[in-house]
Symmetry: C2
Subunit: 387 residues, 2 copies
Amino acid sequence: MTSSPHTALTALTLAPPAQAGAALGTIDTPTLVLDLDAFDTNLTRMQAWADQHGVGLRAHAKAHKCPQIALRQIERGAIGICCQKVGEALPFVQAGVKDILISNQVVGAPKLALLAELTRHARMAVCVDNAENLNAIAQAMQAADTSIDILVEIDVGQGRCGVNTTDAALALAQYAHTTPGVSFRGLQAYHGAVQHVREPAARADICRDVAARIRRYVDVLEAAGLTVSTISGAGTGSAQFDAASGIYTELQAGSYAFMDADYAANEWPSALQFEPSLSLLATVMSVATPGRVVLDAGLKAMTTESGLPRVMHRAGLTVRQVNDEHTVLVVDGDASGESAGLPALGEKVHLMLPHVDPAFNLHDVLVTVRNGQVMEMWPIEARGPGR
Amino acid sequence: MTSSPHTALTALTLAPPAQAGAALGTIDTPTLVLDLDAFDTNLTRMQAWADQHGVGLRAHAKAHKCPQIALRQIERGAIGICCQKVGEALPFVQAGVKDILISNQVVGAPKLALLAELTRHARMAVCVDNAENLNAIAQAMQAADTSIDILVEIDVGQGRCGVNTTDAALALAQYAHTTPGVSFRGLQAYHGAVQHVREPAARADICRDVAARIRRYVDVLEAAGLTVSTISGAGTGSAQFDAASGIYTELQAGSYAFMDADYAANEWPSALQFEPSLSLLATVMSVATPGRVVLDAGLKAMTTESGLPRVMHRAGLTVRQVNDEHTVLVVDGDASGESAGLPALGEKVHLMLPHVDPAFNLHDVLVTVRNGQVMEMWPIEARGPGR
């Protein structure tokens, strides 16, 4: 500790993790890295699949929380995006996204006030599964002299939100159809659990059941004279079948743009072979004990509720554990403390994340690369706990 | 969507989650809430325990990443703080913390350059377990015309970073002792796994072994003429025994200020009965299906690698699942879809987090309360993946 300050304390910062034009290997870590070639391929493949089946792609922005990504999804043909939270939607509207579905319930006055404001700048819709909540939405919109579209959420097997009877759905739809401030647009029908069923045949079976269930709701609503213009749902894992089912008007896939280890464990048809475009870049920070090395990334740079990350671009390495700030790598098999094949101190390692969505949510910036060269840094502006 | 904007798009924001002086129940969710009475009690108890045993408390700021908390820990008597990352340390130095140990290896030029700058504003130390890394640190400090204290990290059973032989420790200590830019201060000896051993007797046994192991290193270093002025380690779970062992000069506890469900599962002596001071406040956002309610907080507001959260301040409720943005609550037992006792739509629920450290890292602000009233909002300035 010397007594002559060279840089004012308030001006001190850690340099940005990357410089445009620099080599990939110069990126400071831990940092999320997006390979633009693989990303572009994924956007193209999912959009082509949606187009081919005459269904809209409403890309789910909860996966990435990054307006720069949403703008590229829309540029390729996506009809808009979904968000899970009103606070999450705000930076996307500010970035110019003009069509957003909050694919979730919104409860509470501060959130509804912001939602009302957003309707002045974008075509907005929100999900409901409760009359009291729908009434609160209508009141908030009336108070702000605006209106919002409503999707009635039905539970198609997720076991979380959404009504469970056609009577309940009809009552909400009729209320939305007749009440100022809200306007009935259709149904939200998302089945999360099917996304990670590994075998295509098993996924197809569940998707067929889901489609039949949705059909029963549509029949009841239409018999009552309502127009169901939107049926929104599906994810990366079920898009293959949900697009072909003819029941959905839009697909809410998000992870397809990146792929994670959990989705990679699914079996995929050739037209929807998505490429891993996202990695967490980490640096070897400790090699003190033969048989293992320690990376400088842990639970503050990724999450492990869906399993451990996988090492990309080099064979023979296994992640043994992930702690708050550390990841321990060993040689596959790891019997006798084998060191041959382990990366050296300071070497960088790409990790394929177990679950993309909460990982993006830990980072403030995404570094994009192409052909091993840093291109841009995209802010993950909607990062946060999600109000 | 109307055509007359009332608020400019760029000026739109979601209102802050709380207002000073307002009732706790008005806090918008999901938000981290700190009960100051319990927090003060915890600070007092751990500080008293350290004082009573003549050992310094170097509070671990990786737990909370919040300078306002560190300043209060120091005000109560803590000798300084630990951080795990250089980027994490920066906002603490800027807030006026004058003594920081980076209780971890720091690898890479950008990080070492910042570390050198920090030595001009605070007493800094860093851990090493590798000669090449120590040399890089010395070079970076020399280049910046400064110097830093070195703790040689020894692996006392954690199985992660740290040297494993007295020879290796001695070589690093001698190098640090003789090389310009670095100065040998002592040993880092943290055993993470012991922290969550439930039975005090089992924790005590492990701590005794760890102390004996450290003693062997100290003997070798002192026999070589080195002064080991600092032995830093211990956590909330082992502080009871590590303070009493006489080997540690400072304790690195962090979670004691908050307690989480994982630590709460340990058995504690009466003098170290820490109180749960931290909760994640969430709102019931869906009650569509009898037998369950859904909260508006998920994996973007907490983490589940240490288990599921627990409902605080009301009995009879169990967390069934935590998804990206949702938590499902059921009545304990949950056999027949029982709804009696479940909170209503819009009600707020406090969750005790499974693991404090990565949860703080998801939030930008901590709302403090006392006697059910909002006091202040403290920025979690060091939040981030940790460079």
